[in-house]
């Protein structure tokens, strides 16, 4: 049998149930799926294949899964930092979005995000933004896998000047993208309980249930949000959403920094999932989500970076390091969030959170071949005792050498094969020049 792709000569970190590590592994791909995964004896050659990746002794792992992004916000990377949340939003981000979010700009910003994600080993993301059709076209062009959602708010939004159309637009988006690409799964994203009315939330949830797609929402991110919901609805954001019938296993709650014991009980009972974004929460001083407790409660958590205006990157390696360290500090316990737990959160955890764990998140026979190779022949990764430790505490995004999605090689030797990165950077720099000039 001739395989489409064979990867060999590396240490394979499967992230399966037992977290098996295969020292001299062999992974064979046919029609986008992993057909074989096993050790290769020293005297054996890899089988014939149309394409072969020699990992050169590096680490081979499942592609990372970013469970929360706003891709086109790469346009605003570092535009404004270190400001009070309301100044940052109202005086910088909202005006920039209002002035510069035209469809074409959104497309270039999303393409840049795809380039950054692929080069840093992320093979799947879960996004929500405006002009999401443009985002989807960009992701489609990049060859990445994604869950993509049109955003919903009750105010005039980029591309949706009339809030009365804020359900019609995501409905059209879901319909446009439901069968358009095997790698793109549409979804619906309500911004939050404070930017959407109860009616909007219920309609959006009904739309996502009818279409059988995920419903995403920012929830319990800041203390201010909790105070506002308490004031308006006399309860917590989680209990409020639950009262509206929003929470079930197709719901992704983003952030969940401020939770009561009852909130955690509700999330567990409804089997809702959480996207944990520690760097964004830290940079905006939102707080620290009670992640060790959530994991102990058996709640599914994925890792996410959030948008580039509040991080300021889409780098899950950096995010893993932060996830490992910030909870140790918070709990005063160095055993909290060990390296294996964090690697799981950035792969199979995120895959579960976004509903794609049947396809991705681990290296296992039968799953899609979303695979990355990390080159650890580098002073900062020498020596290596434990692969998971290196992935979390020592590797950086630039150590990713090759990236495969659904069996297709998208990055080889740190070169993106499917996008014109020079042109994308040049276009985004032109847009940024206009943004700078306007300030």
């Amino acid at each position: 049998m001739n395989y489409d792709l064979v990867i060999h000569n590396g240490t394979f970190v499967t992230v399966n149930e037992r977290f098996d590590i295969i020292p001299d592994g062999l992974l064979c791909v046919k029609a986008g799926n992993i057909e074989r995964l096993e050790g290769l004896a020293a005297d054996q050659s890899p089988p014939p294949a149309t394409e072969t990746i020699d990992a050169n002794g590096g680490l081979v792992l499942p592609g990372l899964v970013n469970s929360h992004t706003h891709l086109p916000m790469t346009l605003f990377r570092g535009l404004a930092d270190d400001l009070p949340l309301d100044t940052w939003l109202n005086e910088h981000i909202f005006p920039a979005e209002a002035a510069f979010l035209q469809p074409e700009n959104v497309h270039w910003g999303a393409l840049l995000a795809c380039a950054e994600m692929l080069l840093s080993g992320t093979t799947t993301c879960c996004d929500g933004y405006f002009f999401e059709d443009q985002v989807a076209a960009a992701v489609d062009a990049s060859g990445m896998r994604a869950v993509l959602a049109q955003g919903v708010i009750d105010f005039p939004a980029p591309g949706v000047p009339d809030p009365k159309k804020n359900i019609a637009v995501p409905r059209a988006f879901v319909s446009n993208w439901r069968h358009a690409s095997a790698l793109i799964t549409p979804s619906v994203f309500c911004h939050s309980a404070y930017m959407c009315s109860a009616e909007t939330l219920k309609k959006a949830k009904a739309l996502s249930m009818d279409a059988g797609v995920r419903f995403q929402i920012h929830a319990a991110e800041t203390q201010n949000e909790c105070r506002q919901i308490q004031h308006d609805h006399n309860t917590t954001p989680i209990a409020y959403l639950d009262g509206l019938g929003i929470l079930d296993e197709a719901t992704l709650l983003v952030h969940c920094v401020w939770l009561t014991a009852e909130d955690i009980e509700i999330i567990f009972k409804r089997r809702a999932r959480i996207s944990h974004n520690p760097e964004s929460n830290a940079k905006l001083a939102a707080g620290i989500a009670p992640v060790p407790q959530l994991l102990k409660s058996g709640i599914v958590l994925g890792l996410g970076t959030d948008g580039c205006a509040s991080n300021n990157n889409l780098d899950l390696f950096h995010e893993m390091d932060m996830a490992a360290k910030i909870h140790k500090t918070e709990t005063h316990d160095p055993t909290t969030m060990d390296a294996r737990t964090v690697v799981e959160m950035a792969t199979i955890g995120s895959a579960r959170a976004i509903g794609l764990d049947h396809q991705i998140g681990t290296l296992e026979v039968g799953k899609q071949a979303d695979v990355i190779v990390i080159d650890h022949h580098n002073p900062h990764l020498t020596p290596m005792y434990h692969p998971a430790s290196h992935i979390v505490y020592s590797a950086t995004c630039s150590d990713v050498r090759d990236v495969v999605v659904a069996g297709r090689v998208l990055v080889r030797n740190r070169q993106i094969l499917c996008l014109d990165v020079e042109r994308i950077m040049s276009k985004v720099n032109e847009i940024a020049y206009q943004i700078k000039k306007s300030r």
Copy 2:
């Protein structure tokens, strides 16, 4: 006039008093010193020089200064993580040190550390360890700048089996290295108030005062340490050291996580300096140092990574990001530790902390030419609105392209010119193989 080195065609982040940024800068070096630093008009060419670096539109900044390292601990990078502090130290690190810290291993570990630091833009470090003569030889071979100290404890130590010699050995080290190299400044490092008796501390301080060198010590790192000093001496670690006459402006206090208001007052009054190591403190769950408060008090702080067994890297870019984010979380204030403050801490702040601010830490005429070039022609650094934001929140160690120490180019296009990196990695991998086998 023919310069030895000219750097041009970049955005120069001077980190001077006004944090001046020179958009199209020119920096000229003669005999290791910065002789000119100014803007270069579009129609002007850079002056003739023996060597020229075209920064290609990148960022040019002072070399980063790591105010706390244990260089040879690269040998134990990722050997043991996510463990309670005493298990980690007593069952993993101390036994590995006892078995594997021979002079030759220390030398290779230190060489690896130098390679890692240079490739990540660090031009100066401040170190303390055992067999420090081997460390100094390695640093000397690398061309880096450093403050280096022989460690002092009251127990048998690698290279100092007889604790009675724990002052004689650092005395010999200081004497060996005082005039040996223009780039190496010797120092004395007492491990801590709980590993050294009052007598040892006073003798070591007397040695450092006699020799006119820095005195370094870990202080107030963990709550356990504070409890022990309280139990043994009925006071805090800082007040205890002050009572022994240890604290003055030549003293570098490492960590300072657990401080009382009186401790902060003492440190300020004595003009002692602090090395802040947020990633190590987070990973070991030691806690979060009250850095915003210390800065407000006018205390000099530098940034440091600590050793590779507790971080697990020597990457100051990563450390800057953590320093910016963790204090925002801790203070619930996103304006805390803005990007400029953090860049200052990793350059001139560290230079002040280790007593080399007259020579390094900023790009200014008259200072030594310790300079790095960052390539930001890369998706994760596109677009760029504010250089300081990019340095702290978006750049990674791998974005460093060129590195200059005292006017000598040590890294060009990410290639180390002065060390045989392949041989160093291969030697360290051999040592690590023995360490693995022994476990």
